[in-house]
């Protein structure tokens, strides 16, 4: 978004006060990242370690089943909320089965 489209000085609360609680969700911090985690659903054993270690709660535990090529059925699927993932790589580092790859973000 262009800076010019943001609120004017007299459209903002004085003193930088934030009067609408919880609005940090509107501030997408994910565009900082250089590397993005990509989860290989075939390798993932659903151990949940990535979900635990993510400092930004950007690992999503989706209520979505997945059947591997070998026929194993998982009830949940792990995904990444790229709006808030900063690309720190902790999930990839900690994954015991190396199911997470850090791949360069393509800049448009």
């Amino acid at each position: 978004m262009s800076v010019k489209q943001l609120p004017k000085w007299n459209e903002m609360a004085i003193g930088g006060v934030i009067a609408n609680p919880g609005n940090s969700l509107e501030y997408k911090t994910g565009d900082w990242k250089v590397l993005m985690p990509v989860i290989d659903q075939e390798k993932c054993t659903r151990c949940r370690i990535c979900w635990y270690v993510c400092p930004d709660s950007a690992i999503l535990e989706l209520d979505k089943s997945y059947i591997t090529k070998k026929g194993r059925t998982y009830k949940v699927t792990y995904d990444v909320n790229y709006d808030f993932c900063k690309g720190c790589g902790m999930c990839a580092q900690e994954c015991p089965v190396k199911a997470i790859d850090m791949v360069p973000v393509e800049v448009a």
């Binding site: 943001l6 000085w9 903002m12 004085i14 003193g15």
Partner: protein
């Protein structure tokens, strides 16, 4: 009869006059750290709290940085907060000065102006306040104990006004005023609170209406929030004038934002504030007798600067002598106020000759004849240029 009795003047130092104002304003929180020559302000306030005349939380803090931090926080919870300081204390507050104005906390602080170390000097000059001038506070200079009492009352009306919401400093000379006793009419709680009822910070901390105060602000927003302060300061100018006029209606005393004394027929002016303005008022008649038709331009409101009034008073004089009691080392004019006046002169295309004088540094005594000498210098300035700042009275 009762009314008459309460309106009789009582002898008070400027420090005590300010403490009485805080009492009559029913301040809720006082946080302060003792520093000469301000100490007796908060000593007196603590007495009022101790003897039950004032129902306030008196916070004993470990430094001036904490004193102002606590006052800001108190103001943001919706309390009426007061603090007082001077010199090194004001310098130690410097970081919090910007935070008070940036968060738009309507804190009122009295400053008994004093020189800054090093070398250590406990005496008066105005180095402390001129170092704080760009911190976004409304700054008012007073020249009598009565005006100090009255201006602290006006200050809360200004600070807490929803169109302003800026912190206000009320400044006066250390010792020369802070410890000098004068007759002061003390109006009392009832009439003062009628004039200055409490108006709270609109986003005050309240668990039922959660807000975030003091969040980090990225480059896309910071500039606009600082520009809000620019506009608030512009808006404060007519508000100060309006509050002063209303004060005049309520109590019979008003001061204006800038005062021109003995200006009728004057060809030269001396711009001075606080005690120097008071002294000049008593000495200018002597100067006129000696042939120096010099008026006094008393700076009362300093931030925001009352430029319209300044132009009105100076557009027909031949010279303007600006007395600074602080030094802006290495500046084009080394008196900080003179430097600004040079800017105003250029901006408004004013024709007077500007004379920058530094005097009274570290409370170097200015005798009566020294003030007459300033009048003579202002008078000479009508026909003679003074390109450099005059360091009056320095041994060289």
């Amino acid at each position: 009869m009762e009314e008459l009795k309460t309106r009789r003047p009582i002898p008070l130092s400027t420090n005590y006059a300010i403490a009485y104002a805080a009492r009559d304003l029913d301040v809720d929180v006082v946080s302060a750290y003792p520093i000469t020559p301000q100490t007796t302000v908060v000593e007196k306030v603590s007495e009022f709290v101790a003897n039950g005349e004032l129902d306030a939380a008196f916070i004993h803090v470990e430094s001036e940085h904490s004193a102002l931090s606590a006052a800001i926080a108190a103001a943001l919870t919706g309390a009426r907060a007061f603090t007082a300081t001077a010199s090194q204390g004001l310098a130690l507050m410097h970081e919090m000065l910007h935070i008070a104005s940036g968060l738009r906390a309507p804190v009122v602080m009295s400053v008994a102006m004093r020189s800054l170390s090093a070398p250590i000097s406990i005496w008066n000059d105005q180095s402390d306040i001129f170092n704080a001038r760009d911190a976004g506070w409304v700054i008012m200079f007073v020249h009598t104990a009565q005006e100090a009492y009255d201006t602290v009352i006006q200050a809360y009306r200004i600070a807490e006004d929803p169109s302003v919401l800026l912190p206000v400093m009320v400044a006066y000379d250390g010792y020369v005023m802070s410890h000098t006793t004068e007759p002061v009419v003390v109006e009392g709680r009832e009439s003062v609170m009628k004039f200055a009822p409490k108006r709270q910070y609109p986003y005050r901390l309240d668990p039922d209406r959660p807000v975030t105060i003091g969040a980090i602000v990225p480059p896309e927003y910071y500039y606009e929030i600082k520009y809000q302060q620019v506009k608030a300061m512009e808006g404060a100018l007519p508000k100060v004038d309006e509050v002063d006029r209303e004060f005049g209606k309520a109590f019979g005393r008003s001061y204006g934002v800038m005062e021109c004394y003995m200006c009728e027929g004057a060809e030269a002016l001396i711009m001075a504030n606080a005690s120097y303005a008071a002294t000049l008022k008593s000495l200018l008649p002597d100067a006129w007798k000696q042939g120096y038709k010099v008026g006094l331009l008393r700076l009362r409101l300093y931030r925001p600067f009352p430029l319209r009034q300044f132009v009105e008073y100076t557009s027909n004089v031949k010279s303007l002598l600006v007395v600074d009691r602080s030094i802006s080392y290495g500046a084009p004019y080394q008196g900080p106020l003179a430097n600004e006046i040079a800017g105003a002169k250029l901006k408004e295309d004013l024709g007077f000759n500007l004379i920058s004088v530094v005097a009274g540094i570290g409370q170097r005594t200015m005798e009566n004849e020294d003030f007459i000498a300033l009048a003579r210098l202002a008078w000479e300035g009508r026909t003679r240029k003074f390109p450099e700042t005059v360091f009056y009275g320095v041994r060289e």
